[in-house]
């Protein structure tokens, strides 16, 4: 017997977002005959892999009690570097792009750790500044990949499975295990739940925060490189608004902004929910605008449900 309340709170075995994912999957497979085909489903995985990869890192940062608004800009920079540096060889270009993500994540993390400035402010600054870096580097030009090995990678597949989808799923599995089975994962929860208690327990809260910022920076850069391989190009404005989509996905998955609560499986559900909604409504020929409204409504509904159920925990005084 599943406890209904535990289930809706997300603390039970089955997460509510997955029920939603299954429900819309069933709905769309009735509405469109093309929806439930292997081709379309792997298509959804490829389409969501960009936001999905960033969301993996964002989950860590948000469980840690922080937030990263700079992921869209980091994605844009990595995409530009991975295409723009191809004269030096694809390997070097990709390594440089991924390194840029690591470095920017480290800078964000170091600032949050050492200065104590709120992560929201630090990464808001970085979001504006890194976009500036992109424009300085690209001089407002779009880059096109001349080497087809690079752009072929984005459409390659092993058997029936697209490479991008496989990369996304492997990363998801690894991040899930790291969160559940390692000391770093446990400490991430501890720091997010109660920083002072974590400090008293001897956890090095600054280092864990910094590691998580490096993780999200890396995944943003990886998503940027993979997006560039899909498009065979990179534009300086690439990745705008991605931070909003990512945060939406993570929150849909049940991770709390206040820290200390969340899961990678939930995030995967949130990412898929967005992907399936977009794809399914496309197949039903609903204009893309409606997805924005529906997502907003769903996000607020999730909040309301969550709050009604956690009323003991969050009940403040009110008049």
């Amino acid at each position: 017997m599943i406890n209904m309340k535990d289930f809706l709170k997300g603390s039970g075995f089955i997460q509510p977002i997955w029920v939603f994912v299954i429900a819309i999957t069933v709905f769309f497979s009735f509405m469109s005959e093309y929806f439930l085909s292997v081709g379309n489903l792997s298509n959804i995985l490829v389409q969501t892999s960009t936001i999905g990869l960033i969301a993996l890192g964002m989950t860590y940062v948000m469980i840690n009690g922080n937030i990263d608004l700079s992921v869209g800009a980091v994605l844009g920079l990595a995409a530009s570097l991975s295409v723009g540096l191809q004269d030096y060889g694809i390997t070097i270009a990709v390594i440089a792009a991924l390194a840029s993500g690591l470095v920017l994540g480290a800078i964000n993390g170091l600032i949050v750790w050492k200065t104590g400035v709120n992560a929201f402010i630090v990464t808001l600054g970085a979001m504006i500044g890194v976009r500036g870096l992109i424009f300085v580097y690209t001089e407002e030009q779009s880059f096109y990949a001349t080497n087809f090995a690079f752009s072929d990678f984005g459409t390659a597949s092993i058997g029936p499975f697209p490479v991008l989808a496989i990369i996304f799923l492997i990363c998801t599995l690894v991040m899930h295990l790291v969160l559940k089975k390692t000391g770093h994962g446990r400490n991430t929860f501890a720091v997010g739940g109660n920083p002072e208690a974590a400090l008293d327990a001897g956890i090095r809260i600054g280092r864990h925060m910094m590691i998580n910022f490096i993780i999200v920076g890396f995944f943003a850069a990886l998503a940027g490189v993979l997006l560039a391989t899909q498009m065979g190009a990179a534009t300086p404005n690439l990745g705008r608004d991605y931070e909003l989509w990512t945060i939406t996905a993570v929150v849909l998955g049940g991770t709390k902004l206040t820290g200390g609560f969340g899961s990678i499986t939930g995030t995967l559900g949130g990412v898929l929910a967005i992907g399936i909604l977009r794809n399914g409504m496309n197949l039903m020929q609903v204009p893309a605008f409606y997805v924005l409204v529906i997502l907003g409504v769903i996000l607020i509904s999730v909040l309301i449900i969550d709050q009604r159920l956690n009323v003991h925990a969050s009940k403040g005084v009110s008049i």
Binding site: V117, G129, I247, V291, L292, V317
Partner: protein
């Protein structure tokens, strides 16, 4: 052990001040920085301090400034508003589109009513339902942008006959040689600053933002206070949309995209704490003007426009960091 103790003390100090009072020194700090900036730019560029240049900068900054005035009130009340960018798109598209259909007066009235309605939805969800403001306004950002696109069908709108309509007054007009956007900005800023500083309503907002529980025990109707801050924010967005629509006489359907972050950047730079309970409108004005003058100064020095973003990055973090460091009397946090 000593470092742990120090760490705890630092955290407690942090907390004490985070909840904190208006810090006199930090307020002076940003003003000094502003004057140094102005002085430095005026050394390198002759036009920089000319009256026409200053007027141009203030006029450009006025749209962000008008919105920032409203968002400052929301932040003092302890919440965030990320939906102002989408709301600006919504209101601008609405007023421009309705201008030709029902005339300027009707368009303006309807636009104000609908914008306030959106503000009321925000305020209801955050004030009365007590939901997290960051996520609610994030959801509204997405939903409102969707509404704009549905309304306009993805097309841009403009006013057919642009030459003889009094609607142009709000964005292009002058009173006594001063551009109307600047006047609107100044009037709104002064009214809100006076309300926040000298009325019991303003004190209640500060109380709610600083310590919600204490405010409620003191008999303040917290829910209504939070609700009202979102109405103020929506009203300011509607004013900004009036200026923007009238200035451009047309609108793209994503015209306000990213405004929420520029507004926040200005507010943070001014020194208003995102944690609520502290801050002031005049600080926000200085923050917004610093961003405006830096952009203008860098352009006059011949740098491309995007260098301002790099500079913004550095000064936002420096400003907040030095403010914090000043409060905790040390530069770095002590925990490891």
């Amino acid at each position: 052990m000593a470092s742990v103790e120090q760490g705890k003390q630092a955290i407690m100090l942090n907390k004490k001040y985070k909840a904190g009072l208006l810090n006199f020194l930090s307020a002076q700090g940003i003003l000094v920085f502003f004057l140094i900036c102005m002085f430095a730019f005026s050394l390198f560029s002759e036009q920089f301090l000319s009256q026409s240049n200053i007027m141009t900068v203030v006029r450009q900054a006025s749209i962000i400034g008008i919105i920032a005035v409203g968002v400052t009130v929301v932040i003092i009340g302890g919440n965030l508003d990320l939906s102002v960018g989408s709301m600006l798109s919504f209101s601008t598209v609405l007023v421009v589109d309705l201008h030709d259909k029902i005339g300027p007066a009707g368009a303006i009235i309807l636009m104000f009513v609908l914008t306030l309605l959106i503000g009321a939805v925000n305020g209801f969800l955050i004030g009365f339902m007590r939901l997290n403001s960051l996520i609610v306004t994030l959801a509204m950002l997405s939903a409102i942008q969707g509404l704009v696109l549905i309304y306009s069908g993805g097309k841009n709108v403009d006013i057919a006959n642009q030459s003889d309509t009094w609607f142009a007054f709000f964005g292009r007009g002058y009173v006594l040689g001063i551009a109307v956007p600047i006047i609107l900005f100044a009037v709104l800023a002064i009214i809100v600053q006076v309300v926040m500083s000298y009325t019991s309503y303003g004190r209640r907002i500060f109380a709610v933002g600083g310590n919600p529980a204490a405010a409620v025990y003191s008999g303040i109707r917290k829910n209504w206070c939070v609700f009202s801050t979102y109405l103020i924010s929506a009203f300011c967005v509607a004013c900004a949309a009036l200026v923007l629509g009238s200035r451009v006489m047309g609108s793209q359907n994503n015209v306000g995209q990213g405004y929420e972050l520029l507004v926040l950047a200005g507010i943070i730079l001014g020194g208003t704490s995102l944690l609520g309970g502290a801050g002031s409108v005049w600080k926000t004005i200085i923050g917004v003007l610093i961003l405006g003058f830096i952009q203008n100064g860098l352009l006059l020095l011949g740098y491309p426009y995007y260098t301002q973003w790099l500079v913004t990055w550095v000064i936002i973090i420096l400003a907040v960091w030095l403010d914090l460091a000043n409060k905790r009397k040390r530069l770095f946090t002590t925990h490891s």
